[in-house]
C-alpha cells in the first residue's frame, strides 16, 4: 500500500516537471529585458542591435515619463554567438522572453534570413509570437530608437504599429511561428515592412535650435519573400488586395466612387462636390478555387463582404434601394480592382505565388501536382483568374439619409 502510494506520488512529481520551463533561479535584477532586436549583416558577420530596458527605481521621480532604454550592438558569427558575445561588454544577461519585434535589415533580407532565424526555434527564450519586419531601404539599427508614439519604449511603439494592421489592412503582421509555417511549406511569406520617414514637428513651444523635422516610423506595405530572401515590396494598396486574397482582411475601409448618375442633383442637396464613399468592412470571407480546363489553370476568387457605410461625401440617399445596390456594386468593383492589381503585381512583376494558390492545386489535383510542383514558379504567372465580389451593406451607419440634405420646408413638399 505504502509502495503504491509512493509510486503514484513519484509519477505525479515527474509529470509536473513538464509544467515548468526553466531550472535555476535568476533574480530580475540580474537580467536585461530586451524589447526589440535589429539584425543586420556586416562583412559576413551578424550585427545585433538590442533595445534594452534600463530599470528605473523611481519611475515617478524620473525626468522623462517614458521608460529609458539602452542600445547595445554586438557582433558574432551567428545570432546566438552575437548574443553571448554581448556578455563580454554588457553586465547583465539578455532576456529575450519579452522581445516582441525582430527587425531585419534590407541587405540581410535580400541575402536570405532562413539560416539565421532558426535560433528562434532552437532556444527556449525567444517568443514565437514576436513580429518580424523588414527595414525598407535601411539597416535594421537605423529604424530603431524612434518613438513618436505614446508607448514607453521605441520597441513597443513599433509593435503597436504592427498590431494596428487590422484597421487599414495596408500592412501585415507576421510572427515567427507563422513565418516558419510558410517556410516549411515552401511558400512565399509576406512580412511587414518598416520605413523611416520625416515628419514636420508641430509644436508651438519649440526649443531654440531644434530641428523642425522629426523621424517617425511607417509600416505601410509588405515585404515579399521567396523562400527566405526578399524579392520585392507590395505597396499599401496592393496589401489590401493581398489581404483579401489570403482572407486576412481586418476591419479596414474601402474607399470607392459611385457613378455620378446616382448622385442626387436635387437642389435640396448641398455639398455634393465630394467623390468618395467609404465602407467599413465588418466581416469578409474569401474563397479561392481553381479549375484546370484544357491544360489551363483558372483561379476563381469569391469574396463575400459585409460592411457599414462609414462616410459619404457625395450626397447619396441610402433610403433608395437602387442607390444602395449601386453602392454595393461600386464597392465590389473597387475590391476587384484591388485584387487584380495585386494579382498583376505578383504574376508579372514578382513572378511568385504569394497567396498559396499552390496549396489549393495540391489538394485538388494531388496527382498532377507531383508533376508540376517543381515548375510552379513558371506556371503561376500564366494562370488566368476571375474575381467575384459580393458586397452587402448591413447598415448605413447611424443615418439613413445624408446630412447634407437641406431640411425644412423644401424637403416637406
Amino acid at each position: 500500500m505504502l509502495i503504491k502510494k509512493m509510486f503514484s506520488i513519484m509519477i505525479l512529481l515527474i509529470l509536473s516537471i513538464v509544467l515548468t520551463s526553466c531550472a535555476g533561479s535568476r533574480e530580475i535584477s540580474e537580467l536585461a529585458i530586451v524589447t526589440a532586436t535589429g539584425i543586420d549583416l556586416v562583412d559576413g558577420k551578424v550585427l545585433l542591435t538590442n533595445e534594452v530596458i534600463k530599470p528605473n527605481a523611481n519611475p515617478t521621480k524620473g525626468e522623462n515619463n517614458g521608460t529609458s532604454v539602452l542600445y547595445l550592438q554586438h557582433e558574432g558569427d551567428t545570432l546566438f554567438d552575437a548574443i553571448r558575445n554581448a556578455t563580454l561588454t554588457f553586465d547583465r544577461k539578455l532576456l529575450y522572453s519579452h522581445n516582441e519585434i525582430y527587425i531585419f535589415g534590407e541587405e540581410l533580407a535580400k541575402r536570405g534570413i532562413g539560416d539565421y532565424i532558426n535560433f528562434f526555434l532552437y532556444d527556449i527564450e525567444p517568443r514565437e509570437s514576436a513580429f518580424m519586419v523588414v527595414a525598407k531601404d535601411a539597416k535594421a539599427y537605423e529604424v530603431m530608437g524612434i518613438n513618436e508614439g505614446l508607448s514607453a519604449t521605441p520597441g513597443k511603439y513599433l509593435e503597436l504599429l504592427i498590431e494596428n494592421h487590422k484597421y487599414t489592412s495596408k500592412t501585415r503582421s507576421l510572427n515567427i511561428n507563422e513565418y516558419i509555417k510558410y517556410y516549411y511549406q515552401r511558400k512565399t511569406p509576406v512580412l511587414g515592412v518598416v520605413n523611416r520617414e520625416q515628419k514636420k514637428f508641430i509644436n508651438h513651444i519649440q526649443a531654440e535650435g531644434q530641428s523642425d523635422h522629426r523621424d517617425i516610423l511607417n509600416v505601410e506595405g509588405g515585404a515579399v519573400f521567396f523562400e527566405d530572401s526578399l524579392i520585392g515590396y507590395y505597396s499599401g494598396e496592393e496589401m489590401i488586395g493581398f489581404n483579401f486574397l489570403v482572407d486576412e482582411i481586418g476591419e479596414s475601409l474601402i474607399v470607392f466612387e459611385v457613378s455620378d448618375e446616382f448622385t442626387n442633383n436635387d437642389e435640396n442637396y448641398i455639398a455634393t462636390k465630394g467623390k468618395y464613399t467609404v465602407l467599413e468592412i465588418k466581416d469578409s470571407k474569401t474563397k479561392n478555387d481553381l479549375i484546370v480546363e484544357d491544360g489551363k489553370i483558372n483561379l476563381t476568387v469569391d469574396v463575400k463582404l459585409r460592411g457599414v457605410i462609414g462616410e459619404d461625401s457625395k450626397g447619396l440617399d441610402f433610403r433608395n434601394l437602387n442607390i444602395v445596390k449601386a453602392t454595393e456594386e461600386a464597392c465590389s468593383n473597387k475590391v476587384k480592382e484591388y485584387i487584380s492589381q495585386t494579382m498583376d503585381k505578383a504574376q508579372k512583376d514578382l513572378k511568385v505565388d504569394t497567396f498559396g494558390v499552390d496549396t489549393i492545386f495540391h489538394s485538388k489535383y494531388p496527382e498532377e501536382w507531383k508533376e508540376i510542383s517543381n515548375d510552379w514558379e513558371s506556371i503561376f504567372p500564366e494562370i488566368s483568374y476571375n474575381i467575384n465580389v459580393e458586397t452587402f451593406i448591413i447598415r448605413t451607419g447611424l443615418l439613413d439619409m445624408p446630412t447634407n440634405v437641406e431640411k425644412g420646408e423644401s424637403n416637406a413638399k
Partner: protein
C-alpha cells in the same frame, strides 16, 4: 458507606477535603430534635434557597427523619448511600444533607454560581441571523441548544473527564439523524481518554482527533447555538465541555471551514458569490507569495512585459534575494499580527499602526524591500483574515510554499500542491473522507459547496455524515 452518625460523616468529609477553607459543614437540630448536617462549597450554591426551602422547614416542621422528602421544597433530590458519591456532588456544587440515624444522604440541587451573561459572539460575527453565543456554563449552553431544537429526539449524553478536574463533557445529537456508526466510534474514543485535566473543549479534540500530526483540524469549532444546531441537524455530533464557550462538532470535512452560517441567512446567489470569494482568498493567502517568488525568479517570461519593467525598476537596489525578502516580510508580518492579537485592545492598535507604517512605508523607502513585495505579502495576509478558522493551516503552508517556490520555481509549487492534496485526501474524520464532496464526488454535496443552492433544492443530508439516505423532508 454513609454512617448513621453524622459526626463520623463530618470527620470523613473534613478528612477528604483536607479542611479546605471554602467547605461549609453546618449542623442544626430539627423540630424532632434530630441532628442534621448540610455540606456544600461556599460560592457554588444558592444560600437563600438553602435557608428558605431546606433549613427553615427542617427546623420548623420535621419530626421524623423518614419525612424528609415531603418536608423540604426542592425539585431535585437524589438519595445516596455512599460517602464518595457525596464528595462528587459537593465538588459539583450541590448541597448534601445528612441526618442522624439514617444511612442515607440527600443531594439537593441548589447550584447557583456567577457566570458570564450570554453575549454576542466575538469571533463569529454576523450581520444577519442570531447573535447569541455560548458561555462557559454547560447548563446554559444546553438550554440554548434545547431552545433551538424543540424535539424529544435531541439527546444529551453526559461524560466526566479529567482525573483532577472532573470536567463535565456532554455530547449532543439527534436520534434518527445521527449516524450510529460514528456515534459508536466517538463513544469508543471517549472510553480511551485518560486525561489529567480538561480545561477547554480543544483538550477533548486532541484526544479524539483523526490526524494529530496534521495542520488541519478534524473537528469544527463554533461559538454559536444556531451553527451548532445546523451541524447536528445534518447528523453531526456536538461535544460541549463545561468551562468552554466553544463547542466542537464531528465529523468535520474540509469545506466546512469555508462555509459560514450567514450563507444560509442571505440570498443563495449572493451567498454563492461570497463562497467563491472565500475560496479565492484561501488560495491567494496560501499561494500568492510563493507563486510570485517562483515566477519572478524562474519564469520571467510569464509576466506581462510592462509589469516586468516595473518590477525590474522596483527590484533595482534591493539588497536581498527575493526569497529572503519574502521570508523576512512574512516574519515581520507574523510578529506584528501576534503582537496585535495578544496585547490589550488599546495598545494592540498602536502596535498594528506602527508595524504597518514601518513595514509598509519605511522599509520600501529605505530600499530594504520592494513595494510589490509589500503588496503581495499584505494581499496574502488580508486574504487570511477572510477565513480565520483555517489560520493554522494557512500560515505554515504559506511559508512552505514560499520556500518551495523560491528554490524550485513552479515545479516546487506544484510538487507541494500535489503532496498536500495527497495529505488532505488521506485524512478521514470519523470515517468520513476529509475532502468530501470533492473526492469522493457527490452530486448532492456539491449543492452546498462552491454554490449554496436554495434550501428547497437541498433535500438530502450530507452522505456519510448523516444516517443513510437521510432526506430532510418527506
Amino acid at each position: 458507606m454513609i454512617s448513621k452518625y453524622i459526626m463520623k460523616n463530618r470527620v470523613k468529609l473534613e478528612e477528604k477535603f483536607n479542611n479546605s477553607d471554602d467547605l461549609v459543614l453546618y449542623e442544626f437540630d430539627t423540630l424532632g430534635d434530630t441532628e442534621a448536617l448540610v455540606v456544600y462549597i461556599n460560592g457554588l450554591i444558592d444560600k437563600k434557597a438553602l435557608n428558605e426551602f431546606v433549613i427553615k422547614p427542617l427546623i420548623n416542621n420535621l419530626i421524623s427523619v423518614y419525612d424528609i422528602k415531603s418536608s423540604i421544597y426542592i425539585s431535585e433530590i437524589q438519595e445516596i448511600y455512599n460517602i464518595n458519591e457525596s464528595i462528587k456532588a459537593i465538588v459539583d456544587g450541590h448541597v448534601v444533607l445528612f441526618m442522624e440515624g439514617i444511612e442515607t444522604g440527600y443531594i439537593l440541587n441548589l447550584c447557583r454560581y456567577d457566570k458570564r451573561a450570554i453575549t454576542e459572539s466575538g469571533v463569529e460575527q454576523v450581520i444577519r441571523g442570531p447573535k447569541e453565543s455560548f458561555v462557559e456554563d454547560i447548563y446554559v449552553n444546553k438550554s440554548l441548544i434545547r431552545r433551538k431544537i424543540r424535539n424529544n429526539n435531541l439527546i444529551f449524553e453526559q461524560f466526566v473527564f479529567g482525573e483532577q478536574t472532573n470536567t463535565q463533557v456532554c455530547i449532543v445529537y439527534i436520534n434518527g439523524i445521527v449516524n450510529q456508526d460514528i456515534l459508536a466510534e466517538l463513544k469508543a474514543r471517549f472510553k480511551k481518554i485518560k486525561a489529567d485535566a480538561i480545561l477547554d473543549v480543544s483538550y477533548i479534540e486532541e484526544y479524539i482527533e483523526d490526524a494529530p500530526n496534521s495542520l488541519v483540524r478534524t473537528a469544527y469549532y463554533t461559538e454559536k447555538p444556531d451553527v451548532l444546531a445546523g451541524k447536528i441537524l445534518e447528523g453531526r455530533i456536538g461535544i460541549i465541555c463545561d468551562g468552554s464557550p466553544n463547542v466542537i462538532t464531528v465529523p468535520k470535512i474540509f469545506i466546512e471551514d469555508l462555509m459560514d452560517s450567514e450563507d444560509y441567512y442571505s440570498k443563495p446567489k449572493f451567498a454563492s458569490f461570497l463562497r467563491i470569494i472565500r475560496y479565492l482568498s484561501f488560495f491567494i493567502s496560501i499561494f500568492l507569495v510563493g507563486i510570485y517568488i517562483a515566477i519572478t525568479n524562474f519564469h520571467q517570461e510569464m509576466i506581462p512585459t510592462q509589469l516586468l519593467i516595473t518590477l525590474a525598476g522596483q527590484r533595482e537596489g534591493v539588497p536581498f534575494p527575493s526569497l529572503l525578502e519574502a521570508l523576512l516580510m512574512i516574519l515581520f508580518y507574523e510578529i506584528i499580527k501576534e503582537a496585535g492579537l495578544r496585547l490589550p485592545k488599546n495598545i494592540g492598535q498602536t502596535v498594528t499602526l506602527i508595524g504597518g507604517l514601518v513595514i509598509g512605508q519605511a522599509a520600501v523607502e529605505a530600499g530594504l524591500v520592494s513595494a510589490i513585495m509589500v503588496i503581495v505579502v499584505s494581499a496574502a495576509g488580508v486574504s487570511e483574515f477572510v477565513i480565520p478558522q483555517l489560520r493554522e493551516m494557512i500560515v505554515i503552508y504559506r511559508i512552505l510554499f514560499i520556500i518551495l517556490g523560491g528554490l524550485f520555481g513552479l515545479f516546487g509549487i506544484f510538487s507541494g500542491l500535489i503532496i498536500s492534496s495527497f495529505h488532505l485526501l488521506s485524512i478521514k474524520s470519523f470515517g468520513v473522507p476529509y475532502l468530501f464532496p470533492i473526492a469522493p464526488y457527490d452530486k448532492e454535496g456539491f449543492k452546498d459547496f462552491l454554490r449554496r443552492a436554495p434550501l428547497k433544492k437541498m433535500n438530502y443530508r450530507p452522505k456519510y455524515i448523516a444516517d443513510k439516505d437521510s432526506r430532510k423532508r418527506k
